[in-house]
Symmetry: C2
Subunit: 326 residues, 2 copies
């Protein structure tokens, strides 16, 4: 795997692109032409846990992309379809890793490419300060596993994990991706929905079960419901999502859906609580709480365009770059 394409350079995509550019030829495929020009002209700088600068290729024109042996789709889940339509045919001989939150991106990728598909679940985090500067924060691993419906060979998964490890990031190849993926799915779906609806970041409220009225009780019920769906789907969990939530509650970090709600961007709810609700239906178990969160967020999105003459005029000032863009 000597040539790698990173699709989408938000924080996560930029971290993959910069690190992999140290061990392979990297092509970044991005949506905005000026983003590609900046990367081609200035390269990419990493600060934080690692500090270095690399050169790499970048383009917003799919026809300029050479064939690549490995691709990492690092867009938001809501942008996978749009981006893969443009570049899916470039990776027919190789492997494509999904690195989205939640469940469902692999299916979209598998429809758009003849490549092998690898399920990625990443726990690393970063902050994108500009198109050419990303800060590496949590240096936790990316877990990779076969996308079962395509019978992706484990050897290919291991090769991809080795390349990412060689680049300086943490990666682990798993024979079954689902225990890690579902642990993060249940955690993410529960906290993102609650955060987006309450506009609280990860905060002590999320673990507070001191009385009946507390949000910790709801988070606990959402996580238990998610575990019952995982069990019905035959998935063993890698980590306990409630323990993940207790750690998250100490961080005061805004989950990505809170950013989306504040910016009135489409959320990843279809891939989070929506995915849990769909899996519950498929396996014949109830998921009233994740269904409720799913419908409330859908309603919230609908409110942005609903003509409501009583709506007050609001001006929101937010100077940070739109990290999720690909």
């Amino acid at each position: 795997m000597r040539r790698v394409c990173i699709i989408g350079c938000g924080a996560i995509g930029s971290l993959y692109a910069a690190h992999l550019a140290r061990v392979a030829e990297v092509w970044a495929f991005v949506r905005r032409e000026e983003h590609a020009q900046a990367l081609n002209g200035q390269g990419l700088t990493v600060s934080g846990r690692h500090n270095f600068h690399v050169r790499l290729h970048a383009t917003a024109d799919a026809s300029e992309l050479p064939d690549c042996e490995l691709a990492i789709v690092a867009t938001k889940a809501t942008q996978v379809e749009e981006s893969m339509l443009l570049v899916g045919c470039r990776f027919s001989q190789g492997a494509v890793i999904s690195a989205q939150n939640g469940l469902g991106s692999e299916e979209i990728i598998a429809r758009a490419t003849r490549a092998q598909v690898i399920c990625g679940t990443t726990f690393m985090s970063g902050t994108k300060h500009s198109d050419t500067h990303v800060q590496y924060e949590l240096d936790t691993a990316t877990w990779l596993g076969p996308f079962e419906p395509r019978h992706t060979p484990y050897a290919l998964v291991a090769e991809a994990a080795d390349l990412i490890s060689a680049s300086g990031l943490k990666a682990e190849a798993l024979r079954d991706a689902r225990p890690a993926q579902w642990s993060k799915l249940i955690f993410n779906a529960s906290v993102n929905g609650v955060s987006a609806l309450t506009e609280l970041p990860h905060s002590p409220h999320f673990a507070d079960q001191s009385d009946f009225s507390r949000l910790g009780c709801l988070l606990h019920e959402l996580i238990e419901e998610g575990k019952r769906v995982a069990k019905a789907a035959g998935v063993r969990l890698e980590e306990d999502p409630w323990e993940m939530n207790k750690i998250g509650a100490l961080t005061n970090h805004p989950p990505s859906m809170l950013y989306d709600i504040r910016r009135k961007n489409p959320t990843e709810i279809d891939f989070l609580s929506g995915a849990i609700a769909r899996e519950a239906q498929r396996h014949g178990v109830p998921a009233p709480l994740h269904s409720a969160v799913y419908r409330l967020i859908r309603g919230k999105e609908a409110s942005w365009t609903f003509p409501d003459e009583n709506k007050p005029v609001a001006t929101v000032t937010d100077e940070r770059p739109d990290d999720g863009a690909w």
Copy 2:
């Protein structure tokens, strides 16, 4: 009943005060001194379905209030305790009507006064344009019934309903207040919570069950859950809350909790979904959805004071008067 006190003059309180001033001596007890001065100086004007002007007494000083034979508590549910602490002792020989949304205000009133307590459920509506001008919109009835734990005599309920009817408003005395109260409770709890969390007013979304993702499915489940709690509590419903919701969905009217959320005022959630959750616990049936809405709104209220350094600066312009104030 020749002397009546109206506690709180938002839209509903102003409608009671103006109409009753045509058939009784009315004292309005309000929170703000300038509100009392305006009412004393200019009287109260009703427009819309009725058009007239009356003089009445008003005060923000409880010690100025004479003993009254009837009181109508027309504050928001969240303000009942505060207002009744000041005036509860003035009505020992008479009757006090609760006119709040939801369930639980009667108990607070009963603790604060030795008067007879009457459960009121009002479906009328209005818009308060200023401290001295209220527009009468929906001319639907106020339903009155005995507060069972106090064994309020039905004759007293009928007397109060007769006085309100004589004043030009619609009122009906019921031997059991709960079927009407619970119908409105279940409807109100369901739509207020969903509206506050999505920031959609009553809108076609609320009745849309065209696919799994739609808010109408959630509203339907919330209402069904409420009906199961009513059944467990031994309460027969007067009207089907789902039919009430279907009519509401045609209005595009913002429910009161949406105003509260936009203004960052404490909501009535304790008396709505919180009350359904409490009743469910008391009668040993589950209410996961109303519990979820209750906790989410509590979390939303907590977000207003939670120090979140990532929160964008928002300026909300809303020129309408704060209708809910007493």
